[in-house]
């Protein structure tokens, strides 16, 4: 059983790596700073480590999907991220792709289940 857990952990890590990007992009039509994003995603059931999120934000910014701005007016300076124009387009396309994947996988998994019942 612990063996299965280990495999699951590894596979889940790979699976999350891609989905987190979608989650992040989905929340950034309004400007957010890193930690507010951690909280926001957490509330919606997507748990992401700050140590993963912060480098990811920076990478997305470098790729041109996000714009950023430092806000120095608050008690502590914070870097806010926001979808760029390209980022917005990419996100919309990504959502379509994601829905396709979900539909296909549902189909595949569902079919297997049906066959299982048939054998009984």
């Amino acid at each position: 059983m612990t063996d299965a857990r280990e495999h699951l952990d590894k596979l889940m890590q790979e699976l999350r790596r891609g989905t987190i990007t979608i989650g992040v992009l989905s929340q950034l039509s309004e400007p957010q700073y890193g930690y507010s994003l951690v909280t926001l995603l957490g509330e919606k059931g997507i748990h992401v480590e700050p140590g993963t999120l912060y480098p990811l934000l920076r990478r997305l910014e470098k790729q041109g999907l996000l714009d950023s701005e430092w806000d120095t007016n608050e008690t502590r300076p914070r870097k806010y991220y926001l979808l760029s124009k390209t980022g917005k387009e990419v996100f919309d396309l990504l959502v379509v792709e994601w829905k396709n994947i979900v539909a296909s996988l549902d189909h595949v998994i569902g079919n297997e289940g049906d066959e299982g019942y048939g054998d009984d």
């Binding site: 890193g34 480590e49 700050p50 993963t52 912060y54 480098p55």
Partner: protein, 332 residues
């Protein structure tokens, strides 16, 4: 909070200079936010700071995530060839030094301590030098490969782009460049560290000395050129080893390397001070030939013409090497 700053430093010092300040500021904000959530405001305890830092994880891993891709001086594609050549070069350098030490000690056993010190010194100089140049060569190769890959990224790949399996005759056996590298390295080591032994060895009731071919006084000046010539030779053999088959590109590259070597050799050998200017009189002094005899004239003539014939031989060798490369590249 000292520990926070230490953490931030540990992360950012492993990142490119240009990003450090920005990432440090952002991390500081993050840690403050995390602490605030944990304590709900002041006062904070050292243990809580530690808990937050533990949550963020090992700074080395965090820095790695910020860097994204790993960076190489010599990437995994070239690494095996690099290790192979590095081993050859280091073994050859160490072995040739050892051999020349043994030969010197046999010829002049009374000076064995001096020779031993020379041996150690030349090892200390020679091994890092061999290591450095080999690594430098491969790093340059890696750099060139990286640039080329970037060029090719945009182009679409076609199955018809697959290179044909090279014909037996175009294939370069691994042993060929390895022997070449070994040869160049051995000659280079002897030229660099034992040049005084290149000449006519005089034996009269045992070994009495060497009449050198080369001019000891000016030799140091030429050493750089010698390194250049043999270094290029080694680069040429490395190109062959990495390529594994004769192609026009490889043939062109070896030709370029050969031309550069040729220019350097011409420059050296044509310089009046390259050869030992008192070679003939030293031979007479050593009692090998007697002045005024026919033998003397013959030896003198041979000595004078050496430069000319060496040039011709080298030219033929290098041209042949280049022509042979093209000939073998053409074979389908």
């Amino acid at each position: 909070m000292e520990m926070i700053e230490r953490y931030i430093y540990a992360v950012t010092q492993k990142l490119p200079q240009a990003q450090r300040k920005d990432i440090a500021d952002e991390l500081r904000g993050l840690i403050e936010d995390m602490l605030e959530e944990r304590t709900g405001g002041y006062p904070r305890k050292e243990s809580e700071v530690e808990a937050v830092l533990l949550e963020l994880g090992n700074p080395r891993e965090l820095a790695e995530k910020y860097r994204g891709s790993k960076r190489y001086l010599i990437g995994p594609e070239l690494f095996d060839s690099y290790m192979l050549i590095l081993k050859i070069v280091l073994v050859v350098v160490a072995a040739s030094e050892g051999i020349s030490f043994i030969v010197q000690s046999i010829l002049e056993p009374f000076a064995i301590l001096d020779y031993f010190i020379d041996f150690i010194v030349s090892l200390v100089i020679g091994l890092p030098m061999a290591f450095g140049w080999t690594t430098f060569g491969f790093a340059m190769g890696e750099l060139a490969g990286g640039i080329k890959q970037k060029d090719l990224l945009g182009k679409e790949w076609n199955p018809s782009d697959l290179p044909p399996i090279p014909d037996e005759k175009r294939r370069i056996k691994r042993s060929e460049p390895i022997v070449g590298i070994t040869f160049y390295a051995i000659v280079l080591v002897f030229l660099a560290f034992s040049s005084e032994y290149i000449g006519v060895w005089v034996f009269k009731n045992g070994f009495t000395g060497v009449v050198p071919f080369l001019n000891e006084d000016t030799y140091g000046k030429y050493l750089l050129l010698i390194f250049l010539v043999f270094g290029f030779g080694i680069i040429k053999e490395c190109l062959k080893l990495v390529s594994g088959k004769w192609t026009y590109k490889l043939a062109i590259n070896t030709t370029i390397v050969n031309v550069v070597s040729m220019v350097a050799i011409l420059f050296m050998i044509n310089g009046p001070e390259f050869w030992n200017p008192t070679f003939m009189s030293e031979l007479v002094n050593a009692g090998v030939v007697e002045a005024g005899t026919e033998a003397y004239d013959v030896v003198a003539k041979i000595w004078e013409q050496t430069t000319f014939w060496m040039l011709i031989l080298l030219l033929i060798g290098l041209v042949w090497d280049a022509v042979d490369g093209f000939r073998r590249a053409r074979k389908k």
